[in-house]
Symmetry: C2
Subunit: 257 residues, 2 copies
């Protein structure tokens, strides 16, 4: 078991860079915080590179730590742990993980949520968590959507990225893939040709596109959909939050007896 | 039209205190930021005490400002505006409003969302916005739920507090009121006696209770409900975010043709 007590240690300096998206992508690694999430990642066989903990963490999760491959464990000082944490009150445990690699030719069967330029990390994370709960097959993030390894997205996802594939890919390519297989693609928008979601019949395979908080789904994608759907607004609100709208639509489209 | 150029001005010092809940409640006043929200408040006849704007705001919204009662308007320096703002990049306009006073004997007709100790400001604000969109009659905040005049709640509500009554009251008293009128009260929980929301028939009048992010609805309230309902989890997520759950339930319970 390694031991690192100084924040000036070169490995710690490298890991701290993972707070920035650029370095996460270069290294294909990211940081998660808190025991619950780390346990979830390990249970889902995510590729753990390091588990760092301070004295408090060592005491609190000693049984669990004993069960882990000892070459992954790093005992660190409180200062080191705080320097790696992005939480106001860090728990005593942090892990560094390798990003999953999905097969380029992964078969996109079942029902998929497609996020087009959704920018708020809380919205992206919550939608992935809801897709998991509703039983969708996976989530695809197109250009512009928030990086899922951002600490706010990770907190909002609550580990759902370990339960279903979350893939970054061009939505135009993905939509073509669905179209070739005659799988319906639903866009979301308010226009005269859109229909209320309650009139959409339930099917086993579909793709649902949710769009940017301000602009909605981009025009070039809406033109490729089979049907554009909306959620009726009965009161005086101008619109729904995009994550709420996604929740209502996914729970409607999936069959729940 | 008043003009205040110094952050040391006594009125500005007083208004700054409204960033704290304690002072908001003592003065029964609160601050909103951004033109869109202020316009919404004015259109809904909310009681505006002051509209403060800097030179940029004066240029950008001159036509609208001309239409307002001139005794409400306060031209302020950029420093003063920044000192009152809680946004990273303040727009050039801020308003001070008086909190609405609801009749103690307000008739609770129609459908109501009851929030029991919901703590996250974003969740509270989003649920009020969704209740508005879904067409509910109003929202009641019980003990412990976030203050709606917190700037984060105000941002998430997007003006829905000007569209439907949002009342702070003891939920136990409110539930007794509904019970006396034979209006069904739905709690939300996961227990063997709870039923799936898809099996709840739609009625015109009801109360739906959503609970704390961690603990759910408190036991003492669950004991008073007519029916406890849950949303099935089909995937591996442990739970849904409370605002997403509220959105799914409200859109299911309200009739939308």
């Amino acid at each position: 078991m390694k031991e690192i007590l100084s924040t000036k240690n070169s490995m710690i300096k490298e890991l701290k860079k993972l707070h920035k998206k650029k370095y996460r992508e270069e290294n294909q690694q990211y940081i998660i915080e808190g025991f619950h999430l780390i346990e979830e990642a390990v249970n889902a066989n995510a590729k753990v590179k390091w588990v760092l903990f301070n004295q408090r963490g060592q005491l609190e999760w000693s049984a669990w730590l004993d069960d882990q491959p000892q070459e992954l464990l790093v005992f660190v000082s409180d200062e080191v742990l705080v320097s790696l944490s992005e939480l106001p009150t860090p728990q005593g445990i942090i892990a560094v993980l390798e990003m999953p690699v999905y097969d380029e030719n992964l078969h996109l069967g079942g029902s998929w949520l497609l996020l087009d330029n959704v920018q708020d990390p809380g919205n992206v994370g919550t939608m992935i968590r809801t897709a998991d709960a509703a039983g969708l097959s996976g989530v695809i993030l197109g250009e512009g959507s928030s990086d899922i390894y951002n600490s706010k997205v990770l907190r909002a996802m609550q580990g759902s990225n370990y339960h279903l594939p979350v893939i970054r890919k061009s939505l135009e390519d993905i939509i073509d893939n669905f179209k070739e297989r005659d799988i319906p693609i639903y866009g979301t928008e308010l226009n005269p040709e859109a229909i209320s979601y309650t009139n959409v019949s339930k099917v086993k395979e579909y793709a649902l596109i949710m769009g940017n908080e301000g602009q909605g789904v981009s025009q070039k994608l809406l033109e490729k959909t089979d049907q554009n759907i909306y959620i009726p607004i009965k009161g005086k609100a101008e619109s729904l939050n995009v994550a709420i709208a996604a929740g209502i639509l996914m729970y409607h489209l999936e069959c729940h007896e």
